[in-house]
Amino acid sequence: MTIEAETLDGERMTLSMGPHHPSTHGVLRLIVETDGEVISRAVPDIGYLHRAIEKIGEKLEWAQFVPYTDRVDYVCAMNANLAFCVAAEQLMGSALAPVPRRGECIRVLVAELNRISSHLVAVGVSAMDLGAFTPFLHGLAQRETVNDIFERLCGQRLTYNYITIGGVAFDLHPTAVAEIGTFLDELSREMKRFSQLITVNPIFRDRCAKVATISAAEAIAWGLVGPNLRGSGVDFDLRRDEPYGIYGELDVQVPVGRNYAGRHGALGDSYDRFVVRLLEIQESIRLCRKALELLPPAAAKADDPVGGWQSDASKVLRKPPAGEIYVRTEAPRGEMGYHLVSDGSKMPYRIKIRTGSFAAVGMLEYLCPGLFMADIVTVIGSLDIVLPEVDR
């Protein structure tokens, strides 16, 4: 729904949307210049949540940085843990014993459970911003179960500090497999209802269809990643195309956008991005079930190469060789990449974190002109912008 701003007469008005606004999902400030109801310019102003996590990392030992990665993206802290640990393990190379098989399966389990809860929040909250309150409550009810499972697993409900360099911090608790199995069954039933509440809702569909349509070439050039990239029809998922851990064995199916709104929409519009997230939840349920199948029985020792959950802890604390590496993993908001520089000492020389939301915020200035003021809420929601990972 775009209108040529030039065709309307009237004074331009400058509005400051945020930094405290319920629909900006954090402290994002948009300086919006409007011509009546139509946006002529929108400049994002970020940095309100900048905690200098990268700089702090230069003063810590490698393993000590893991709790900080939780805070990079607290909506999917497991995936943020995993991104750093996979990168650090690749930097350490052969200095580190490989992660035990059971540890790898647990990693996939928790990462996919966290992806489910992150997508439930992303879709649920955005639906609430667009006026549909019910899906939000259904989404959060399911997320609560994930939080309960994680709480029993590692004692935390939001920032887990669970995945470590070399494996995971603890083995699964005795009832974990049964709990996760029950949850997955319940979630697949519930997802039918949750999806219908959103996709069949004509108000939601009309507010998302044809809003902020991004072509595949644009999405790649602007560095969009994850569901935002796939929403534009680009078939690219790091879990399948650049596999890490045991993802290569899991045969990851990648849902892509294909104009799900039909005659109302266009390929790569906001509605496609929401639907891709819903389909990814289904895929994550399947991956969780597969990881449960592959899970070897527990061993008594943590560093058992099959049934253990962490490689030899004494080697974990070793200094990585001097070098430089960029490793990317697929977080719920897309590519979470770590550029790590090591000078061979026990502390990182430089850490740079590249996140999906950073690219999405960068694109706002390009996307917003021509849209209605109310569409900003749709755009921010459909791009799933989470501010802590933008500002870091």
């Binding site: 970020i46 940095g47 900048h50 200098a52 990268e54 700089k55 996979v86 393990e89 690749q90 070439a217 790649i220 050039a221 602007w222 560095g223 680009v234 690219f236 195309d241 650049e242 596999p243 890490y244 851990g245 290569g248 001097a322 070098g323 430089e324 960029y326 490793v327 990317r328 590519e335 990449g337 550029h339 520089v341 000078d343 061979g344 020389y349 430089r350 740079k352 590249r354 950073f358 690219a359 915020v361 960068g362 694109m363 390009y366 500002d391 870091r392």
Partner: protein
Amino acid sequence: MPALPTADPAALISRFPGLVVRPDGFITVPAGELPTVARMVRDELAFNQLMCLSGVDQLELPGAAAAIGVRYFLASTSRRLRLTLSVEVPRDDGSVPTVSDLWPAALFHEREAYDLFGIRFTGHPDLRRLLLPADWVGHPGRRDYVYPATYNGVQHLRDGQRFVAEKKPVKPAAKPAEPVKAAASESAPPATAPKAAP
């Protein structure tokens, strides 16, 4: 863990003899040649994705020039390849041509690198600070950055507190450690006295 393979740099090197391939596969590009190299990399070698643009202050990095490094992590979605370009600029008043005209994703990344490392990206349409306030002084990503005591009249520290400069671990040349330790543990007060003196 198979990452995407790194592209063979032969095609680049034959066209641009000024490039140097580092042992880890990064290609060092002179700042002046970056626009032509980047354009060829994007248009002819199909590296359409700028994964990440990162600044590194190489001041204390062993085996590297004491310059500010800029790394361009590129990927090709069609050829499934990766490529990393590296540019080194002088620490004082260094500048690099922008690549935001080729990959708009660089618009925000370059603003961040300017903010934290003080790299000027010539040709960038809107080179302002990104994460820090506009009136911030200095570039905190640099290794020799000194934290300011105040910002806009607000003191960061209570009276008497101060930021302690990073102490380099002094490597002991020979190890007369054990007798000294034994002496220190026997007479604790003299051992702590020199610490308090400065």
